[in-house]
Amino acid sequence: MRPMRLPLAWSSALLSVALFVLLVGIWQMLTLPKPSKPPPGVSAEYAALMGHGAAKSDGFPTPAQVASTFIRELRHPFYDHGPNDKGIGLQLAYSLARVGAGFGLAVLVALPLGFVIGMFPLLRRALDPFIQVLKPISPLAWMPIALYTLKNADVSGVFVIFICSIWPMLVNTAFGVASVRRDWLNVARTLEVGAFKRAFQVILPAAAPTILTGMRISMGIAWLVIVAAEMLVGGTGIGYFVWNEWNNLALPSVIFAIVLIGLVGMLLDLLFARLLRLVTYAE
């Protein structure tokens, strides 16, 4: 008799759940209250009176505490009780709005500029040193300059997202446009296709997979950077939420926020993976 085989999707899901349970189990074990030893040279009675010897937690939240935070926070995600007490949904919305604005501006700049750079080798060579130097700069390093010149914390946050998401898009767009197959361009030339139609109906679809890959990388970086940026800028957003809860020493809330940052990041990546699949062509 053949052994019964589960489909791969099922067995992998099962394994994931098992791993999750295992990790939570380890977490639970590590955060169990531990009986503390009485200091040496003190009578047991005195030690008991002083609270030594009783089971004591080291303060790191247990899975149960974090779970209750999840439930409490997710029950009212959009409440707004003043500047330091907003629902997680609101905070995420602020962060997503900043990322959206910065990323959108970067698209508006990087796509046309990358297109032009890709079309003209001269321009590519001329701009290459600038791109190579500017690209590795941590976006947060721009923060002081942004704050000084823009004089607005909120706009500075958007600027930081803009500056960090522009590079992968710019580089990928230029590369995608530059490496459009010669044959397709020749087809367009023999058909006397105008510049506008050539750009939008030949070069853009040909380079779209590369361009969208750049956008996907940019979005990933933007979501990484927004947390740090909001910790610096303060006021609103998921990064500020984490920092605020740290100041409150509310570690369950910090863990809750961390998990949500991960989930939202995953969703954003999935969105771009979908878009990428739409424009990808098989040769």
């Binding site: 058909l191 139609k197 679809p205 062509y281």
Partner: protein, 315 residues
């Protein structure tokens, strides 16, 4: 002098070497003409500049010297009047088969409605037997089918001249044969003027009215022209029953194997402006002496004349 449809005069081209200075000319002093409705095939070894010549005719590349005139006007750049079928089919993979043809049709007649473009494109896809695959993407097609789409696309814009750059080079023998037949039928039906590159001697004999033989580069030239004297109604099936076929074939193979490396100007009486035209198919005896009437060769060249082809006929 009669006005030829296409006239190529003193064409030459060189590519820069690794140090940036112009290298030796790949080909120079290339002259030939093509008449309306004629199917001209060019053969020669790799590197003699066939594709460059085709690209110059298409307007995709600039020659260093010389001129190309089509229909009385000089060719200065790519034009809808010359349809090109590319070596690697060059279909846009993000478009459907119909979309690829429609892109060309829409470029040719921008004022047409969507429906008109669609109908016209479908007509040409039908012509190459691919109407059923209209909604497919190129990657779902076999190599032969892709090339047929390329041919449909080129014909669909009704160019004055069709340029084919070794269109069947990447195909297996079976689909190659089928498409050759289809191409032949379409060309005869449309009276299309065609210039084509091939490496396949049989393909050249089947399709061409006239075959240009190119010597090896550098400084490649058209060494001679072979007129295919067989009936224009020849097909792949009847081809090898015709004794002319073997004579022409032997002549071509002999050129490629032996004479292509000879630099034409070293042959006495060679004139790049008046390329010798030979008709090996009509040479019943096909003896070297007979051929000499057609091609005047230097004495040392006589040793490498086409061999007797009787044994080939018997085979």
């Amino acid at each position: 002098m009669t006005q030829h449809f296409l006239r190529v005069e003193a064409l030459s081209k060189s590519y820069p070497g690794s140090d940036g200075t112009p290298g030796p000319a790949v080909f120079d002093d290339v002259h030939f003409t093509i008449d309306r409705g004629e199917f001209v095939v060019i053969i020669g070894h790799s590197g003699c500049g066939k594709t460059t010549i085709l690209n110059v005719l298409a307007g995709l590349e600039q020659a260093d010297g010389g001129h190309v005139f089509m229909d009385g006007r000089e060719v200065g750049g790519p034009s809808l009047e010359r349809g090109v079928v590319f070596q690697g089919h060059a279909l846009m993979p993000w478009r459907t088969v119909l979309g690829n043809v429609a892109f060309a049709v829409g470029s040719r007649w921008p004022q047409w409605s969507r429906e008109q473009i669609r109908a016209h494109s479908l007509k040409f896809l039908e012509m190459v037997g691919l109407a059923a695959a209209a909604g497919k993407k190129p990657h779902q097609l076999s190599g032969g089918m892709k090339q047929r789409v390329g041919i449909a696309r080129a014909f669909a814009i009704s160019p004055k001249m069709l340029l084919l750059d070794e269109p069947f080079g990447a195909l297996d023998a079976l689909s190659r044969g089928t498409i050759q037949d289809e191409l032949l039928a379409i060309v005869h039906a449309t009276q299309q003027t065609v210039f084509m590159i091939t490496h396949d001697v049989d393909e050249a004999i089947l399709l061409a009215d006239r075959i240009l033989l190119m010597s090896n580069g550098p400084h490649a030239k058209i060494a001679e022209m072979v007129e295919v004297t067989m009936s224009r109604s020849r097909t792949r099936e009847t081809l090898h029953h015709d004794p002319q076929y073997y004579r022409i074939r032997n002549h071509l193979v002999d050129f490629l194997m032996r004479r292509a490396q000879t630099h034409p100007p070293s042959i006495s009486g060679y004139d790049a402006h008046h390329i010798p035209l030979v008709r090996p198919g009509l040479d019943a005896q096909a003896s070297p002496e007979m051929l000499l009437h057609a091609v005047s060769l230097a004495p040392q060249q006589r040793l490498v004349q086409p061999r007797q082809n009787q044994q080939a006929c018997a085979a």
